[in-house]
Point group: C2
Chain length 460, copies 2
């Protein structure tokens, strides 16, 4: 970046909010992926929508690329700045701006952490249901930009289903105030939904209005042990028919071993190849119906064992077996596949994917878990100690391309909830047609004609 450009940026934000120290560049230049080395030229810390607008106009004038940056917990490299970009970190825009008890809506700045939104909702007697392991660090702007899902999609939907208003700054520096919390608004294209999942390529999200829900009545959590993969979807169907499920999450014995090795409490004595954590509210006869479903499944040989949480603390312990998986794998530098198919396609897809992976990764440890009630599997390949990281990534990329063909055959997605970013770009064509990508390219030119917003991400 030219020195006069940097000076102009400092003129906009002040010295203290434009970082250029190597440690800051390294910190703000990457997300939870570790495949691409960070190399931004500066980090800008705006404190208002107006300052974000000023940064965009500055970027246009000086032809500098921007990388919008939230909690940087992303797993596809969407927030990585590896090519001299300026990182626009929303950290200082983390306030609750408004709450309305009639609309049951919370308006927040984009840099607020997901967990802070949970807390803000709870303090007001309500509930923000988008929930996942990185909630302490991830920010709402990032949630919006990847349409974050998580563990309660089954009942409450994705981030998309919660956003009733969105304020964004486009690539031309326009501030758009989209939908403003309306339930019904049939006045042309819903641009709000275009920004949700756009990974910061169409604009920078600066505020969001979120629809809150009633708090869960009396959540019950069960851990189930299953004899084989074929049982998973049959148990899902039995429980879904019995109760209104909030979550239905599965993981393998290998995933459990990693979580237990990190100190989690064993909850069942029975060893099984597959486990499920499910949750539902104990309204009316729900608990009795769930237990009856359990007995029926056990009688049919679909369940080996199970336990139901008897307290909030025990529920938390059961959830920890599922929620702790990602963290327990982190030291092994896992290569992550985050794929989905229609729920009905899951048994056939899973059998084919398992066979492919067993064949192609004979020597790698593979850990399966995920939101199987949404048709979403996380397949984590662990790096063998002896293998160099670049070789490991190259080998995983080769198999991901093969997996992409299986996904395409089953009509699925190469990224269910992690986005495309840098890492999944080579596989986008397995899920989106060439015509779709060309239309996306056209839309991007409309919103970012100068090509300054997260260039190189999503597609070229």
């Amino acid at each position: 970046m030219e020195p006069d450009a940097l000076a102009a940026l400092r003129g906009l934000l002040g010295e203290a909010r434009v970082l250029t120290e190597p440690a800051d560049l390294a910190h703000y230049g990457r997300d939870w992926t570790r495949q691409v080395a960070p190399a931004p030229s500066a980090v800008a810390l705006p404190e208002s929508a107006g300052e974000v607008q000023a940064i965009v106009r500055w970027a246009i004038a000086h032809r500098v690329a921007l990388v919008p940056s939230g909690g940087r917990t992303g797993l596809s490299g969407g927030a990585v700045a590896a090519a001299g970009e300026v990182v626009v970190a929303l950290d200082r825009m983390n306030r609750v701006l408004d709450f309305d008890p009639i609309d049951r809506s919370l308006t927040v700045q984009a840099g607020i952490a997901t967990e802070a939104v949970h807390n803000a909702a709870a303090e007001r007697g309500l509930f923000y249901p988008v929930d996942f392991a990185s909630k302490g660090s991830s920010q709402i702007g990032g949630n919006v930009s990847t349409n974050a899902g998580g563990i309660k999609v089954l009942r409450y939907g994705m981030t998309r289903d919660r956003v009733t208003g969105l304020k964004v700054v486009t690539g031309t520096g326009e501030v758009l105030d989209l939908n403003r919390g309306l339930v019904k608004n049939a006045t042309g294209y819903d641009l709000r939904h275009l920004f949700i999942g756009a990974e910061g390529t169409l604009g920078i999200v600066v505020e969001a209005t979120l629809a809150l829900a009633e708090p869960p009545a009396d959540p019950k959590v069960m851990l189930l042990a299953l004899p084989d993969a074929a049982a998973i979807m049959r148990v899902f169907d039995a429980f879904r028919s019995a109760v209104a499920l909030t979550a239905f999450e599965f993981f393998t014995d290998r995933a459990l071993a990693h979580v237990l090795a990190r100190g989690a409490q064993r909850a069942l004595d029975t060893d099984a190849p597959f486990y499920v954590v499910c949750e539902f509210d104990a309204v009316g006869e729900a608990e009795a119906r769930a237990l009856a479903a359990f007995e029926r499944c056990a009688g049919d040989g679909l369940l080996l064992d199970g336990v139901i949480g008897q307290s909030g603390a025990q529920n938390a312990e059961l959830w920890a077996l599922r929620e702790g998986i990602s963290e327990s794998l982190a030291p092994h530098l896992p290569y992550k596949n985050d794929v989905s198919v229609r729920v009905s396609a899951m048994p056939a897809f899973m059998a084919e994917a398992q066979a492919l992976i067993a064949r192609e990764y004979p020597d790698f440890e593979v850990v399966w878990f995920g939101h199987i009630g949404d048709g979403n599997l996380h397949i984590n390949i662990l790096k063998p100690q002896a293998l160099a990281h670049p070789d490991f990534v190259r080998e995983c990329g080769r198999v991901t391309a093969l997996l992409g063909e299986v996904i395409a055959r089953h009509g699925g997605s190469v990224s269910a909830e992690h986005g495309v970013g840098l890492l999944k770009k080579p596989y986008l064509g397995h899920t989106r047609s060439a015509a779709e990508v060309e239309l996306m390219r056209g839309i991007r030119r409309v919103f970012d004609p100068h090509g300054i917003l997260n260039p190189g991400k999503l597609f070229d």
Copy 2:
């Protein structure tokens, strides 16, 4: 249209499926609005997505504009063909293509009637919840293209919340197969949501995959009589806190008078200025809680009277008082305003709108009703016998512009669920900013570079 163009179209579809008789042109050229005279040059009746694609390619080659056409129950002129266009009527594409019991999804062609979808879902033990008075004629393609809402949005959401897959033909003749029923798919811009509510200006919807719901358990319907406008939102809040409402619909004494004059059964002896029909499922203690809410509201002077349906037949009679309004007004050629604000803004907005309308329409009969639980009001102005229709429309347009300013001040929408079409175009700027409209224009050029899809609708 040039004779060789017409001959080429007949070559594609055969003589019988290209209509040019004056009666057919008049029938297919208009929707439920009566303000613009229909004048299409032909009507095409495709039977497959491939034929729709062929029609689009033909239109590009011969520079002919197309008007996609469903049940033509629209109230904003979005399906009117008044300028020599070719109407593409989806009537013959009305089949159920697929049902999956695990995904609980129904894939249908775009020309299927809304009510036929209700029936197809019920035959499979499930429920399609998008429900409104014109369901017998309206088609799914039109529902998608206006993001249809209706009476059960409070619990089940809009059409947007039900569409998990969409097949469309764009203005360049590309067939897009969007999202294919996936719950989670984070692979770039969700083009599906762009087509929902686009009023046929970006592409022609040819198929939709719809998420079905569990059928309602045991629906209870109440009719409530309220003493004043201020009570409406307070009663809403009391009932919403007591039970999970499926619907909360309001109408005035004038609306009731029209429905009763058309033969509906009176259900309450008490005369009141405002009425509400609400619905909830009688699960657990819901009925007792609703009755307690009723008693509390009556004690606070917010309710004058009420009745709860004791049978399916009585529920239907109560609903008929609300559902019959539009039809009862039709002979009076009403000018329709379909506006929304945030639910919290409703009391202040309604007071201001009522004052404006009383002042500006001293001699016109005005009938208010709507989905007030969604912040959505239908304000119908009835034409006095003595006034010529063009004069009436001009006068209503003048007041609509004033109402638009009130709506803008309250952050609302000039079209909550009817779309923009031709009739609401002059008021679009009260809800969408100039920057938003310019972006919409850019998107339209990407999807329809030849300007053949419903030109002149939504915006110029």
